[in-house]
Symmetry: C2
Subunit: 887 residues, 2 copies
């Protein structure tokens, strides 16, 4: 027979902390606290398996549940000595949700269950406090009415407000016992009116109603959204915890409070919390009365005038502190604890690992390790790698007001304010004049690189998490909100609108790239500082991780950032980014418009010294660290101007007429540039471009090697390879240039040659390609686009629907799609190593900075991941966690 219900109370429990999967987090900890002697009101947990059963069986319960529940209830009655529904000494219950992962506030709770017209009198008698009894009863009706019967809470509030008006009072605490009684009657009438039935008087009916309400709340919209945002599978279900009520509102010898064993905001090792005398839990949350501090220290720091708990009830505070110590020592983590004092008796209602800021997480983890509580490995695992973004980018002041006007994707973390501009030239111009600007575009293209660099942040109305804007912004460390679809940009009139609101060029907006928010006006931001604890944690991570971490970078500033953040090489140097410089773009365009190979070579000769100098700068910075240079990748039309004036300017400069330039531009346009004339296909049709690039790599590496007296061995990467023959073609091209260089320089340049594996066909032919290649770098962005047939620039129109409808578990451009792209990659790794056991394996797609994907890359045995410089610390930490987790 299945066990659907677990008992706990009086120092024993059927479950323990290890059973979170079936008892939920709260239930498992309630059981555990019993086991270790922490005072917890007795109760029972209905397992998460009941939740799944309930949803798998048209919202019916397993037939054994009723008996098991009754038995467990009897156990509570035995411990408390009172009986559920008893007219003299009634047991009152709380009913709370408790999922495997904490989902605070997402689901429903019912308190004071068991009260009815008879038991309320018994409660009044027993407590000697009629006001308390009827206040409890009205709270119960209100909660039950809302949660179980679906009556809007406001309707109850209105009744209270009316009564208070009649009584001419303001605060709930001023309401008399008599008025609460009156209100109770009116509440019951409201229930009758709304539901057609009287308010249920049978406690067992109340209990079942509340249990079902909690299970139903698993599928409410809030909960679904929360799960989606936090990657919690629906199949986990929630448990339901039923506990004997304890009351913090039975008089001034009662109180209720919330505490953290360490400061969740700073991580400081001192107790932190607040309590309210004569109150129930929800009063703390409701914020009607201002809670008092727990400790004298806090009180002083906050200049509070109310007594701290440490002062007001020092004996109980001492008991509480002992429990803090016990729980932290037991759970070996900072705890978030709810407690209630009923008539000077302390009860712990909940303990769980406390949520914390990343700053706090880092500090707590490092300090706990030093305190000897946890190992380095555990410390490493305690910090969410993605949270590190908070430490690396400015964030909005959490206390500032903000008027959110639109939402998009949180495409590149950080927050920024600035004046709206609609084109890159303007962005550059205004930023030169010292203005801070936010570049607003439908979408960005490589042409916008300089505008993006000049801007504090980028906002686009189209595109996904790996759209051009998002990728480049992350690389540069600029805040970016992408794909804010309700923004209508009117380029002609230099404005954008969202609904009725119009924002003109020059108006100030703020974007929060960590949350995807677009905010009106300026919001103050906070600049982060990297702590010693952070450095220490990262050092530990480096000790444990097996994956190397490189950065995707090409400009000297990005390369420097990458080194600062601990990158161990460059995994992707995109040479085309170097082509957009104002001084070079013209030569590039000249090259594109060349009719003959000779003309093209002439234009390339102009680019050559600049390109060579790029590499010299990079090699000087990177020294012996590996640098993987990808030869030209984007289709040539990306380098062409789009605007009429620019086209005219180009025609002038090339001594050609505008019609010719325009028709040539048109000829270069493509239906699906992603699948077009790009990557090494350019090297097949225009080998002279690749020859120029390879030559500049060789000359620069030899020259820097000599001047610094080190050995530089660049890694030349051929993009978009689909076959063995294609790779051999380029290997020969590179070898021939190496031979020419040998004749000129007297030495054969040292290099590795490898390829991006970014198309399914390359992955499917990894064995034959690997037999000629020194390395593979998985280009998971393009591999995701082609494997799933989803353009990252166009997916914002349907991908959200896919995730909302549960058709895809997550955005495949953020975390690698294990069942599609993952299969191709892991098979390619196996096949590649089979034919060449020395082939070096890396990944340079956006997934290189995603912790979940890094876990996968670790497991399939890659040598390194490469990500944008600002993601390097995240990748280092995630790589260490992957190693620890999969040991």
């Amino acid at each position: 027979m299945n066990k659907w219900v677990y008992n706990f109370g009086a120092g024993t429990a059927e479950g323990d902390a290890s059973q979170k999967n079936i008892l939920g987090g709260k239930g498992a900890n309630l059981a555990e606290m019993n086991n270790i002697g922490v005072p917890v009101p007795p109760g029972l947990t209905i397992t998460t398996e009941v939740c799944n059963y309930y949803y798998d069986n048209h919202q019916e319960y397993p037939k054994e549940l009723n008996d098991q529940l009754n038995l467990a209830l009897q156990n509570i009655e035995k411990i408390t000595g009172v009986k559920f529904g008893d007219s003299k000494s009634p047991l009152l219950l709380s009913v709370r949700s408790g999922a495997r992962a904490s989902m605070p506030g997402m689901m429903d709770t019912v308190l004071n269950l068991g009260l009815n017209d008879i038991t309320v009198e018994a409660l009044a008698n027993k407590s000697g406090d009629e006001r308390f009894a009827f206040d409890s009863y009205r709270r119960f009706i209100q909660m039950y009415g809302d949660v179980v019967l679906g009556i809007d809470s406001l309707e109850f509030e209105e009744i209270i407000e009316n009564q208070k008006e009649i009584d001419n009072i303001i605060l709930d605490t001023e309401v008399s016992a008599h008025s609460w009684k009156l209100i109770t009657t009116k509440f019951k009438a409201l229930v009758k009116e709304k539901t057609g039935n009287i308010f249920p008087q049978n406690p067992i009916e109340q209990l079942w109603g509340s249990i079902s309400a909690v299970f139903n709340s698993w599928m409410n919209q809030r909960a679904i959204t929360y799960r989606k945002l936090n990657d919690i599978p629906q199949s986990w279900g929630t448990a339901v915890n039923v506990q004997a009520m304890v009351f913090g509102n039975m008089g001034d010898d009662c109180c209720t409070g919330v505490a953290f064993t360490r400061n969740p905001s700073t991580g400081e090792n001192s107790y932190y919390g607040e309590y309210l005398i004569n109150a129930q839990g929800e009063d703390v949350v409701a914020g009607i009365r201002t809670p008092q501090n727990l400790t004298i220290k806090e009180k002083e720091e906050q200049n509070s005038e109310s007594l701290s708990m440490e002062e007001s009830i020092p004996q109980i505070y001492k008991e509480l502190v002992n429990i803090f110590k016990k729980l932290e020592a037991h759970y070996l983590d900072m705890q978030d604890i709810e407690f209630t004092v009923q008539k000077n008796k302390l009860w712990i209602l909940q303990t769980r690992s406390g949520k914390r800021t990343t700053t706090a997480a880092v500090k707590i983890a490092v300090e706990m390790q030093k305190e000897g509580l946890i190992s380095k490995q555990v410390a490493i695992s305690r910090v969410d790698p993605l949270g590190l973004d908070q430490l690396l980018h400015p964030t909005l002041d959490p206390h500032a007001d903000k008027e959110i006007i639109s939402r998009g994707l949180p495409a590149s973390p950080g927050a920024a304010s600035g004046r709206v501009v609609f084109n890159s030239e303007k962005a550059v111009e205004m930023s030169k004049n010292g203005e801070e600007v936010i570049l607003v575009r439908m979408e960005t293209s490589p042409e916008d690189i300089h505008g993006m660099h000049a801007a504090r942040g980028i906002l686009t109305s189209r595109g996904g998490m790996t759209s051009h804007a998002a990728v480049v912004a992350r690389g540069m460390g600029r805040a970016c909100v992408a794909g804010a679809g309700d923004i209508l940009i009117d380029h002609e009139n230099n404005k954008f609108s969202v609904g009725d609101m119009v924002v003109n060029s020059g108006d100030i907006i703020t974007i929060d790239g960590s949350l995807g928010e677009v905010i009106k006006g300026e919001v103050p931001t906070i600049m982060p500082e990297l702590s010693k604890n952070f450095s220490e944690l990262m050092q530990w991570a480096d000790q444990y991780r097996k994956l190397n971490v490189r950065a995707n970078a090409e400009t000297p500033i990005d390369v420097k950032t990458a080194i600062e953040f601990g990158a161990e090489g460059i995994g992707l140097c995109r040479t085309e980014h170097m082509f957009f410089d104002n001084e070079r773009i013209l030569a590039v365009r000249e090259m594109i418009f060349s009719d003959t190979m000779e003309e093209r070579r002439k234009a390339l000769e102009k680019i050559f010294p600049m390109q060579k100098n790029d590499f010299i700068e990079i090699f000087k910075l990177m020294k012996q660290l590996p640098v993987t240079i990808r030869l030209l990748d984007p289709p040539l039309h990306e380098f062409l101007p789009k605007e009429k004036e620019e086209l005219e300017e180009l025609a002038d400069l090339l001594g050609s007429d505008i019609t010719h330039i325009r028709s040539r531009s048109l000829q270069l346009e493509e239906q699906n540039p992603m699948l077009g004339h790009r990557g090494c296909r350019l090297g097949v049709t225009f080998p002279e471009i690749y020859e120029m690039q390879v030559r500049s790599i060789f000359e620069s590496s030899i020259e820097v090697s000599k001047s610094l007296n080190i050995e530089i061995k660049p890694e030349i990467m051929i993009p978009l390879i689909i076959s063995e023959k294609e790779f051999i073609y380029f290997k020969n091209l590179v070898e021939n240039i190496a031979k020419n260089i040998e004749q000129e320089y007297g030495e054969l340049p040292k290099y590795l040659i490898g390829t991006m594996v970014e198309l399914p066909r390359a992955a499917l032919n990894a064995d034959s390609i690997a037999s000629h290649a020194d390395f593979f770098s998985f280009g998971t962005n393009d591999l995701t686009q082609t494997t799933l047939g989803i353009s990252r620039d166009d997916c914002s129109k349907f991908l959200p629907d896919y995730i909302d409808n549960n058709i895809l578990d997550n955005d495949p451009f953020i975390s690698i799609d294990l069942n599609g792209v993952g299969k191709l990659v892991s098979n390619a790794v196996k096949d590649g190593l089979k034919s060449n056991k020395n082939v070096k394996l890396g990944i340079c797609g956006e997934h290189g900075g995603d912790p979940k994907s890094i876990d996968f890359f670790h497991n399939i045995g890659l040598d390194y991941v490469s990500c944008s410089p600002y993601r390097v610390p995240i990748a280092r930490l995630a790589a260490a966690q992957a190693r620890i987790k999969n040991k």
Copy 2:
């Protein structure tokens, strides 16, 4: 020790006809003819393996070759009784190439080898004909000079012309012995001047020079191109045949000729050929003298006045006819035979299967079967399926003159003339007025369907073999030349130009879609007629093939064509093609511009009855044959107008303003529509569209089932699936509608539901998807695009370079890419059958009509292929051949 050289002569041979791989076609047949008693000049064959050795070893020969060659030469000397290089009675040799597959005229030949200043005198003495001897010598020098020494043949011709001027004569036959002698001297001087060496006098040196020249000619440009066009692998190599010379030019008792055992043009069973008295082989080819007919019949048919061979040398003619019979009976195929008569002695120089037109191929195959010569299976294998296109489409009159102005891809077979128009509306309008038009577009889009239908042919300047224009044209049976890249279209001025030539709207051009030619003016065409032989052959094919053949069709006319051509079902009915009808497109656009689901439903209600009627028509035509209907696939922006006026018209009709319409259109645009918001992604975001389609399928199938009293079971196909969950989502959608239909019609509609497998991720998840699907249809067009990352609309800029550089073996959009797409498809078949052994497997990409791909599809065990209606006969024949070949 390797055997590099094979002897033959005097009725015995070391090789035979089965050894084409190492002896080449010519060498194997020379050996075989010896074995069966046909008189062949004795000789030797140097194997194709020597060719491969030669290219694998820096053009050096295996060391044993010299000895083996000498031994074989001695054998020839023994048989002929003359010695190579002998000053009295010299053996003369011919040196000819001979590849495994016939490559006529592609490689080099040297005749009369062994002549030098001494042996020429011996030849003169022996033949008693000094003129003949020196004519032979000068021919040898000229050929050797050209082929071995690389001297332009024209330089030799010039010497001859000068001499003839001096002698005041016109024809070569008039040149005297003396003059030939003079010419010989001058030839030798030319060689000295050009090469710095005297003309080689040593016959052995001559022989090695010629052998190397033949091997070198394997890699000349002509041969490389021919191999590419005919899919002959380079690794096959060529053999070299060295034979004792026989002379057809030793006097009037000599002749030389070419004959076919049946008419290669019509297939008629009568000898066909021509001969020249007192001539060498190349004189027949050179066309200086008009050859005479072989038979009296031919002579009479051609009203020729010269004597036929049958009349002039009846005895030898009789001998020849006996050999014809012997060879055809032996090879069981129509033979193409070269012969020479030297001094009344008949020699056969070559026999091979004769090239023939498709008409002839069909007639010969069917008749030979009836004559009991070959089996039905062999008959089936004798006809090239691709050739059937010739029988199904009009072709250009081969005797007409044509001025080719441009070339593109032969995208859809057939020839057509008409007036040039540049837009589809104009095409429709002019064709209504009875004009024949050729639609000329940069590229076509679904909007052009009606224009394409109205046109006789389509010419595009962009796009590949599977571009929209190509695919649709083939489906409609319209001629199409695609991607004629040198055509510059000037839409504004309604003209196009190629180089300096300008073609205006209304000018007449002709396109040959079988050859990819664009021709100025009108060229007469020939309409084909389907013969009884053709039908018979197709019936045989149907008996043997295992693959079913369906058609891709959606209009009643296409469906009728498909049935006529023997389609056994519709494998792909593209519902979106039905949306472009003039009457519907507006409702479609209204639907697209709807802001709410209600508005969208209203617009869909207008489309519903039309869509339902489409299916009624199709079901009535197809009756019980299966019909696979694909739900809406293209991105919605394909349905929007592009031109300003059309946009304005639309704004008017929708009661909206043009700015709104334009900005909405802009919002719908995509960077990479191929990877965008299309396929079943439309069904996720706008389920009401798919609901309308499914409902119309169900209602129509039930109604037609009832009215015809048959059981119609439509196959509903969900496009662009990437995951199991996605498929289940649509399966549920379809099931729900089926249940609604049941309530309205009192019966559950019968149907199958399946999916296109057209993205790598679908193929990689075939197991899980198949467990829910009734059928898979591999969409190899899109699967090729995504697996290789190549857009079929953009590939014309680089794919030719890939094929030229041997990086790809062939166009992956024509024949399936075995190493990439093929791997995905065959694994998906295996995985799919593993989880659902009843899953029906088909393919509906363009590859469904390609014989090479059909062979693959047969081998991996698909149930059917589906192709455009005009390809159905090709597929039927190819499927039979695949079965026979792989038995």
